[in-house]
Amino acid sequence: MSIDFTLAGAVIFTGLVVVFTALVGLWGIVALFGRFFSAASNKPKPSEPPKAAPAPAPKPAAPAAPAAPVAKAAPVPVVEDGIGDEIVAVIAAAVEAMGAGESGGYVLQSIQNAAPVGAAPQFQQVVKGGRPAWAQAGLMQNTQPF
C-alpha cells in the first residue's frame, strides 16, 4: 500500500495551523478582555477581606490537614481576594488525593513557607458550610473520565 504523504502533510500542517490559530487567537482575546475586566474590577474589592478574620481557629471542617499551625499563616486575605471557593477546594482535594502517607509532612511545611498555599486549609475553617465546594470537588474526582 502506498501512503498519501501529501494528504498526510496537509492534515498535519492544516491541523497544527488551525489548532494554534484558534488557541492563540483565544489567548489574545481572553488576555485582552481579561486586562479590561481586571482593571475594572480591581477597585470594589477591599470590603471583603475582613470576612476571613473572625474565624481563625475552631473546628476544622475537613481532615485534610493538621489544623493547629495553620493559624499562623497570616496572609489569608490573599485567598479571599477573588479565588473562588471551588479552586481552593480543588487544591485541598488534590492534596488529599496525593495520599497522606506518601508525603505526610509536607502540608505543615508548606504552610509556613508559602503563604498563598498555606491559606488553603485555613480557608476550610472559614467556610463552615463548605459542603457544596467539597461536594463539587468530590464530584470532579468521580467524573474524571469524561
Binding site: L7, V19, L23, W27, G82, V90, M98, S110, V117
Partner: protein, 392 residues
C-alpha cells in the same frame, strides 16, 4: 411424542450459546473480563470502562442478537433503517445515540457544567500549551498512516491523543466506526494510565531547576469574564471549525448553565442524571461494537501502539512548549504544567502537581496546570474539527 420433546430441546441446544460459541467470541468474552478487572480492580476509568466491558461481553454472547454490526456498518455508509426495523436489538436502538452523534455532545454538556475555566481565563497563556499538546494527535495520525491504516482510520487513532473520551468517540463514529470499540478502550485505558505514562517523559524533558519553579498566584477572575468566556470560545472555535460545534457548543452551554447562576436546576441535572444516563448508554453500546472480527486483529495492536505514541508525544509537545514559555517568560512558568495540555481532566493536572511537588514539596502547580488542562479540551475539539473537515 417423546421424540418431539427431545426435538424441541435439541433446537434449544442448537441455538444455545455453548454449542455455537466461536473461538473469537470466547476470546472477546475473556477480553471483556480483563477490562472489567481493570475497571473494578484497578480503577481504570470505571464509569466508562465497566459499561464498555459489559457491552463487549453482551455483544459476544452467541445468538443473543443485542447488537447488529450490519445495521450500522455496511456498503451504503448509512444506517440501514429497514434492517434496524426488522432485526433491531436493545443495543442497536441505544447505539443510535452514538451513531447519530447525540451522546458525546450531551456528555460534554455535563462536563461543561462541572468545568471551571477560571484558571484558563486568569492565565490565558495556557492556551498555548493546550495547543502544543495536540501535537500527539498529528504525530500518531502520521504513525498510523505509516503502519498501514487508511487516512480516516489514522485520524480516528490520532484523536486518542486528545485524551478526551467523548471527542474520540464523536470523531471515530464519523471517520472509522468499525474501529470504535478498540479506540474507545484504548482512549479510556490510556486516560487511566496518565499517571504512569506522563511522569517519565516529563522528567526526561525538564531539568530539576525547571521542575522546581514556583509560579505566581493566579489573579481573581470576575463573574462577567466567566460569562463571556464560553460564548466567546464557542464563537471562535465554531466559526473556525464548524464540524466541532456540537461538542464545543454543548460544552460551553453547560458552562454557561453553571456560571450564570440562574439555571442551577439545569446545571445539576445535566451534570448528574442526564450525564449518567448517557454514560451508561454510551458505554454499553460502544462496547457492543467490539465483536471479534473488528477487535481481534492486528489493527487493534496498531491502535494500542499508536495511542500510546499519541499520549507520549502530546505530553512531550506540551512540556516542550512549556520550556519555551519558561525561557521567554524569564523563568516564571514551570514547564511541568505543559503536560496537562493533553486534557484527561483533571488527572493530567494532578500529575503536573505531583511531579512538581516531588522536587519541591512546597510547590503547588495544580491550579496553574488546570489552565492548560481545560485548554487541552478545547484544543482537541479543534483538532477533531480539522480531522473531520478533511477526512470525512
Amino acid at each position: 411424542m417423546f421424540a418431539i420433546f427431545l426435538d424441541s430441546v435439541g433446537t434449544l441446544i442448537q441455538n444455545c450459546g455453548f454449542t455455537s460459541l466461536s473461538f473469537g467470541q470466547a476470546l472477546m468474552i475473556l477480553v471483556s473480563f480483563l477490562l472489567m478487572y481493570l475497571a473494578i480492580g484497578r480503577g481504570f476509568e470505571p464509569l466508562l470502562l465497566l459499561p464498555i466491558a459489559f457491552g463487549m461481553f453482551l455483544t459476544n454472547i452467541p445468538n443473543a442478537n443485542l447488537y447488529h454490526t450490519l445495521i450500522f456498518i455496511n456498503e451504503t455508509g448509512h444506517i440501514d433503517w429497514s434492517l434496524l426495523a426488522e432485526t433491531g436489538g436493545l443495543l442497536d436502538y441505544l447505539y443510535l445515540g452514538v451513531k447519530l452523534g447525540i451522546y458525546p455532545p450531551l456528555i460534554f454538556l455535563g462536563v461543561g457544567c462541572m468545568t471551571d475555566f477560571g484558571p484558563l481565563i486568569a492565565n490565558p497563556k495556557s492556551f498555548l500549551m493546550g495547543a502544543a499538546a495536540q501535537l500527539g494527535i498529528f504525530l500518531a495520525f502520521f504513525g498510523a498512516l505509516c503502519i498501514g491504516f487508511t487516512p480516516a482510520e489514522a485520524g480516528s487513532i490520532g484523536i486518542i491523543g486528545g485524551a478526551d473520551g467523548p471527542t474520540a468517540i464523536f470523531t471515530t463514529t464519523q471517520l472509522a466506526p468499525h474501529l470504535l470499540g478498540s479506540i474507545a478502550v484504548a482512549a479510556y485505558s490510556y486516560m487511566a494510565l496518565v499517571p504512569i505514562i506522563q511522569p517519565p517523559i516529563m522528567k526526561a524533558l525538564t531539568t530539576k531547576e525547571e521542575r522546581m519553579i514556583k509560579m505566581e498566584q493566579l489573579r481573581p477572575v470576575s463573574k462577567i469574564e466567566k460569562l463571556i468566556f464560553p460564548v466567546l470560545v464557542t464563537l471562535v472555535v465554531a466559526f473556525l471549525v464548524p464540524d466541532t460545534t456540537p461538542l464545543i457548543g454543548m460544552l460551553m452551554l453547560g458552562n454557561l448553565f453553571k456560571e450564570s447562576g440562574v439555571t442551577d436546576r439545569l446545571s445539576k441535572t445535566a451534570q448528574n442524571e442526564l450525564m449518567n444516563i448517557v454514560t451508561i448508554f454510551l458505554g454499553v453500546t460502544v462496547g457492543a461494537t467490539a465483536n471479534a472480527a473488528s477487535f481481534l486483529n492486528l489493527k487493534t495492536l496498531g491502535i494500542v501502539a499508536m495511542g500510546l505514541c499519541a499520549f507520549a508525544f502530546g505530553t512531550a509537545g506540551g512540556v516542550l512548549l512549556g520550556k519555551l514559555m519558561c525561557v521567554l517568560s524569564g523563568g516564571k512558568i514551570n514547564p511541568l504544567i505543559g503536560s496537562a495540555g493533553v486534557s484527561a481532566v483533571p488527572m493530567a493536572a494532578r500529575v503536573s502537581q505531583k511531579v512538581g511537588q516531588a522536587e519541591n514539596p512546597t510547590n503547588f502547580l495544580l491550579m496553574h496546570a488546570m489552565g492548560p488542562n481545560v485548554a487541552g479540551v478545547i484544543g482537541s475539539a479543534v483538532a477533531a474539527g480539522v480531522l473531520l473537515a478533511i477526512l470525512k
